[in-house]
Symmetry: C2
Amino acid sequence: MPLFGAIEAGGTKFRCAVGTAPDALLAQAAFPTRSPAETLADVVAFFKGTGNLEAVGVGSFGPLDLDPASPTHGSIVRTPKPGWSDFNLKAALITSLGCPVAIDTDVNASGLAESLLGAGKGLPSLAYITIGTGIGGGLIQQGRPLHGFTHPEMGHIRPRRAPNDTFAGICPYHGDCLEGLASGAAIFQRSGRHLAETPPDDPLWTWLADYIAQLCSTLLLTAAPHRIVLGGGVMSSNSVLFGPVRQAVAAQLAAYLGELPLNEIIVPPALGDMSGLTGALLLAGEV
Amino acid sequence: MPLFGAIEAGGTKFRCAVGTAPDALLAQAAFPTRSPAETLADVVAFFKGTGNLEAVGVGSFGPLDLDPASPTHGSIVRTPKPGWSDFNLKAALITSLGCPVAIDTDVNASGLAESLLGAGKGLPSLAYITIGTGIGGGLIQQGRPLHGFTHPEMGHIRPRRAPNDTFAGICPYHGDCLEGLASGAAIFQRSGRHLAETPPDDPLWTWLADYIAQLCSTLLLTAAPHRIVLGGGVMSSNSVLFGPVRQAVAAQLAAYLGELPLNEIIVPPALGDMSGLTGALLLAGEV
């Protein structure tokens, strides 16, 4: 049986796995993200020990150059992470591993897995949003991640501000875009604590639900995905947010799209923390 | 050569055409939109006089039920237009004309034509936005209109309000959504005149450009279309708006997506007022 490799390339760690199918992972490992050379050495050593690979799939932090016609296709671009800006992750892996490599964003990989095997199984479309240190998202249509002239950067949309929220936001580009207001990093910077340590009567809960809901409402009004999966550390550590987010979406849409079953539409990842690796293995199978 | 029919079904008029190809329209006519029965009688009489049709394509006002599994597929839903709510336009045309009928939204039809034959020719993706009495939009990916659980309703996204604009908006559902603030109807209601009659130093120009730009920026950050075509009466009568809209998009994105050639990306329809009929004929060819 052909063996495939999967890499979930994150800013903190690289998770790796091999498997014969997306639901049959045989070995896994994780390595701290350091310089490209140090990190890749760990990754390559792991895969050299697992046997010959048919192909490797990568779901990576970004932004990425995913233009098929670009000479730097497969590179990480514009990242503040030392050493990684303009590093061609795809090319480096092809050279080191000697097999074909498919690469997409971490959220597109997770979305692909949730769409085909998780919360969106059997449905034509799904959006996957991660709310962690940063905020990102991907759209899956008919089993394929949607790409335009670049991959989605929907964490940077501009929500309408909650009336009494005067926080300036932390995005170096936009200040108070969604990521600048509602990411884990923004929450910590505005309050000095993690969301889970915030008292239940703090208005921050309402503001966050409203901001996250604005991305959901915007997606429902544009691509109209059948499911919106909210993943990432902020959501998994504060699942109590799902209720207020759904209520805020209902208030924002005001039944314009009819009575939507938001309990079914806006959901956590069905694959838990395995969405990313599973999606990377799916990408490998499509090379 | 097989003959196809095209209908651009609008709230004010129904335009009809027949042709052997999208760039070869042989006969055209337009009829005022009245009751479904009266309007359809005109449409059917026109097509009966043009010869046997292989298929008919319709780009229609909406919202529409476009769920292929729905028993009311092809119906117009929730419209304030007397007699048209829940009228199954597709079924009525199939019965009257005796040939297959394909239906999509007016903006998806226009977008399809602009993507394949107009401003987006040769490119993988395009968004078509109309800013007229109302605001609507469609997304074309690889030559196909994008549908989720419904068609896009992007005119109802919620822009951040311009600091000194206190107009409450006119959308019966959302008040100050984009359509409630920046549609032709909203412009007339807030100022008592059409935009073309508004003095150049009126802040309304800046506000409108900012609001329209927010939809463009949101699209560039989510689906990242290669082209955004801005059509509809407000844009065609005030093409001076294109410059301020592009400038506002540049300010909102703050180079996060790199230096985008916004002069090339945000453009008027290349097919002028023929996008809709041309798109309807393309839909007919795909039945």
